[in-house]
């Protein structure tokens, strides 16, 4: 996979460095986000910036893009020192950033979004003129998107193209991409890589921020690695370094990629989802006749590109969303269209996608957050009152057992890091000894160490005989944890594959990839058989 990056020109002209950052220091309250970091970008290269979450990658690049101001250190662009006090300054110097969360106005067209904030159309918006200009620009860089389309009509991949076009239209030479693949399907990722290579060929330079090793080694010419605000590697040629080495630079120790997983011994069906239909928040159909089942002692994965009904599926199962047709049976009882409480009382644990908005109460303490599903029963409930001593004791036990790093359990959870917050949520859900657990994106946004911890906890659940439904966008995670994987596409199951060993084989990934983009398994098998004949 790593050998596809030979298309970029050799970066050795008279002034090879287009950007140079020296000794950048940036502090946030309690955190030294960048500790004298050096960074250099050569003209015409794709430079991967690798690091765990919270390593300071985005901070460093926000400094370069003019969003943050460094406390010490200098930025040189084309050899000249520059001081950026706003993103506008940075763009003037030819540096633009595409953020992880897009900054687009959904009700306006592509052209209107690109022109937003510019002085050029002064009063009259003669949009057709600009439409053709933008179409031309898109053509040149392989960024196909209809300039007259409204943003809300576009897929996430297309919206990303609009963001890139926005920067190119402003004439930037250096494009910073912050975790650009986080929102894309595998096919779209390939398309993005194609675009980036086209841009390099026409003289632009790209900084590619990611915490995904395989992507960085696939696309980048050189790699810099940050760990805890310190650069552990600066501008290493990506061909000369192995994934294992990069991982070590990122986390400071060897990462175990293979999990020791015992063979599954599935028992009875615990969760049976039968032909369910449901709408999303906008009232549009999100689930259209979806069926699946999970047995005791197995982890069943749900793969799919974000927004194909995964969130709605987990919400219907947990009782937080109305099920319009069909049934969700948990251990013989129908739980769909009952209250959330009904599911909780029937031994359902739910690790929601949104940790801060659904999974926790930010201003309440860790203690208050861990008793969320236990306060109705002894030992927390005593004589009709909450026994705060028992609650604190429970919280301290969980803090110990789940490795939650905080001074004390009366800390409000809004002050916790992503990994710690997820451990609080998992501790709460798992400590209820659930018969069934649905976990949605349980490792999203966590660093490698925290991800490993979450994986171990999920496997421990499986070994304890719980049925686990794991919804994730990380294929690697699904394949290393699951015993079976369903693939969801537009609210329907495209097919189900068995994962025999922990080693994902190429054919399986390919099949899943095809299902994720809407080809049913039956069709893939038919075509496969036809090809064999």
């Amino acid at each position: 996979m790593a050998n596809q990056t030979s298309s970029s020109p050799s970066p050795s002209r008279e002034s090879p460095l287009i950007v140079e950052m020296r000794g950048i220091v940036k502090r946030f309250p309690g955190v030294l986000a960048n500790d004298h970091v050096n960074f250099e970008l050569k003209r015409g290269e794709i430079h991967g910036l690798l690091g765990e979450n919270g390593a300071g990658k985005s901070t460093l690049m926000n400094v370069l893009a003019g969003l943050y101001r460094q406390e010490a250190g200098t930025i040189l662009v084309n050899g000249e020192p520059k001081v950026f006090s706003s993103p506008r300054d940075a763009i003037k110097s030819g540096i633009g950033m595409v953020h992880q969360h897009f900054m687009l106005v959904p009700s306006q067209t592509v052209t209107e979004n690109i022109l937003l904030g510019l002085d050029d159309p002064r009063f009259f918006m003669r949009l057709p003129d600009y439409d053709s200009k933008i179409a031309e620009l898109g053509e040149k860089f392989g960024l196909k998107v209809d300039p007259r389309a409204k943003i809300w009509q576009l897929s996430v991949g297309e919206q990303q193209r609009v963001e890139i076009l926005k920067m190119l239209y402003r004439g930037v030479d250096v494009l910073i991409m912050d975790e650009p693949t986080a929102v894309l399907a595998p096919q779209e990722i390939e398309g993005l890589f194609e675009t980036l290579r086209t841009m390099i060929a026409s003289g632009k330079s790209v900084i590619f921020i990611s915490h995904k090793l395989q992507e960085v080694s696939a696309i980048a010419d050189r790699v810099s690695v940050l760990r805890k605000g310190v650069a552990t590697a600066t501008g290493v040629a990506s061909k000369g370094v192995s994934r294992q080495e990069l991982a070590r630079l990122m986390v400071g120790r060897d990462v175990i990629f293979a999990l020791d997983k015992k063979p599954s011994q599935p028992g009875e069906v615990v969760l049976d989802v039968r032909d369910i239909y449901s709408d999303n928040d906008k009232g549009l159909p999100a689930l259209r006749g979806l069926s699946l089942n999970v047995r005791a002692g197995e982890i069943v994965g749900v793969a799919g590109v974000a927004g194909n009904g995964q969130s709605e599926l987990s919400q219907v199962i947990s009782g937080m969303r109305e099920c319009k047709k069909g049934q969700v049976i948990l251990g013989g009882d129908e739980v769909s269209n009952h209250s959330t409480l009904f599911g909780i009382q029937h031994g359902m644990a739910y690790v929601p996608e949104d940790r801060t908005h659904v999974g926790s109460a930010p201003n309440l303490s860790i203690t208050d957050n861990v008793i969320m599903k236990k306060y109705r029963k002894p030992p927390i409930l005593k004589n009709g009152l909450l026994d705060m001593k028992a609650a604190t004791k429970l919280a301290n036990e969980l803090k110990q057992a789940y490795d939650i790093v905080v001074p004390n359990v009366s800390t409000p959870v809004r002050l916790l890091s992503g990994g710690n917050l997820q451990r609080v949520i998992l501790a709460r859900e798992i400590s209820g000894l659930p018969a069934f657990m649905v976990a949605v994106q349980p490792t999203r946004g966590l660093d490698v160490g925290a991800i490993e911890g979450v994986h171990r906890l999920l496997l421990a659940q499986r070994e304890a005989g719980a049925a686990v439904l794991l919804v994730s966008e990380e294929l690697e995670e699904l394949l290393s944890l699951s015993d079976r994987v369903y693939v969801i596409y537009e609210g329907k199951i495209m097919g189900e594959v068995m994962v025999v060993s922990g080693e994902p084989d190429e054919g399986l990934v390919d099949t899943i990839g095809q299902m994720m983009t809407g080809t049913p398994l039956a069709q893939i098998e038919k075509e496969g058989a036809a090809a064999h004949d």
């Binding site: 250190g73 937080m320 109460a361 208050d368 002050l415």
Partner: protein
């Protein structure tokens, strides 16, 4: 540490930065900040008083004397604080769940009406014993207030009617309702007030015991203070120690998480609005039977429900702190009238409020002063 490679502006500098707090400040800190804010407010107020041609020191001395100077005025301060305590408790419980009940005023008035109806209807004959009268009137006051809270609560829960609008409007309905009864039905010779209540329908006051304890002569502090304090303590237990209070706190902080935890939000909206209304209604009962001794609009609808909103916020919705904040406000209202009917005292109240609310910033952020070496 020498950082020779670092290039920044080369001048000795003192920089002041504001950083969000990543750790909770120690427990004593909020109290010290609030005290500091009051001192700053008094200094600012002093400046304004001297601009207005007054002597700030003398004015403050006068205010202090008029509200805490002797046992008599302390008692008056407490009498003023009593309805505020109950109104603020009412607001605090609704606000805790992010229900913006600004109808404590109307619920307070309805509570006064409900309590009065026991005497005026009459439900109980005039010669009923005081120890039957008082509990029955308390229940009636709370029930009437709870009804006035139930209406917007039900509308909010079932039809998502904005409770700010509905509670505000119901305030006017409550005033009109009471006016109808005191003009038309229970009028005292055509005046817009009911006849005086019989003595045993009134809350006992300290001055009644002056024969046994001469020190109590002239003190109008009544049983309402005790009712307020007990209500505050009970409310504290409900909020911080009961299962229901936990649900209220959870819904208030994050309704999505509450739903996720299996809590019925609709039901809680109605119950909390009723509790809020009941507390305000109890305040109305206490005021009508402890101070006014007859049903009359003007002294009952004197804005205690609105003051309660401010006090609840100042006390950060903590029921026990509400008692202290209410006494402070009682003092300000009383002393204000001593120096000027309107104007400067109101202004000082305003300055104190703004300073206290602004000082909240210091709890969430910290100010860092850096001396640059480079």
């Amino acid at each position: 540490m020498t950082e020779s490679s670092v290039v920044t502006k080369k001048r000795p500098s003192i920089r002041i930065r504001v950083e969000p707090r990543l750790q909770e400040p120690p427990a004593w800190y909020p109290a010290v900040v609030s005290l500091g804010a009051i001192i700053v407010a008094l200094i600012l107020g002093g400046v304004l008083i001297s601009f207005a041609g007054g002597d700030p020191i003398k004015s403050y001395q006068h205010i202090a004397k008029a509200s805490f100077g002797d046992i008599g005025v302390i008692s008056d301060t407490i009498v003023k604080a009593t309805p505020i305590i109950l109104a603020a408790l009412a607001c605090s419980v609704a606000f805790r769940m992010k229900l913006w009940n600004i109808g404590a005023e109307g619920q307070f008035i309805m509570g006064a009406f409900g309590a009065s109806a026991i005497v005026l209807a009459p439900v109980l004959p005039a010669e009923t014993s005081r120890w039957i009268f008082i509990p029955v009137m308390m229940v009636a006051g709370m029930a009437s207030g709870a009804l006035w809270g139930f209406i917007p609560g039900y509308l909010k829960a079932k039809f998502n009617v904005n409770e700010i609008i509905s509670t505000l409007m119901l305030n006017y309905v409550a005033v009109a309702w009471v006016n109808f009864w005191i003009f038309g039905v229970w009028t005292e010779g055509g005046f817009q007030m009911s006849p005086k209540f019989p003595a045993n329908a009134n809350l006992p006051r300290l001055l009644e015991y002056a024969k046994t304890y001469p020190a109590f002569r002239g003190l109008t502090t009544h049983l309402g203070l005790l009712i307020g304090i007990v209500a505050a303590v009970i409310l504290w237990f409900i909020i911080f120690r009961s299962r229901w209070g936990y649900e209220i706190r959870l819904i208030g902080d994050n309704p999505h998480a509450a739903k996720y935890a299996g809590i019925n939000i609709t039901k809680n909206i109605i119950w909390v609005m009723m509790l809020s209304g009941a507390l305000a209604g109890l305040g109305g009962m206490s005021e009508v039977t402890g101070v006014v001794h007859r049903l009359q609009t003007a002294p009952i609808a004197a804005g205690y429900g609105f003051t309660g909103i401010i006090v609840a916020w100042l006390a950060k919705l903590n029921p026990l702190v509400i008692i202290v904040a209410s006494i402070l406000f009682g003092a300000l209202i009383l002393a204000g009238r001593e120096i000027q009917p309107s104007g400067v005292p109101k202004m000082i109240q305003g300055i104190i409020l703004v300073c206290l609310i602004a000082s909240d910033f210091l709890l969430r952020y910290r100010i860092v002063v850096e001396r640059g070496e480079e």
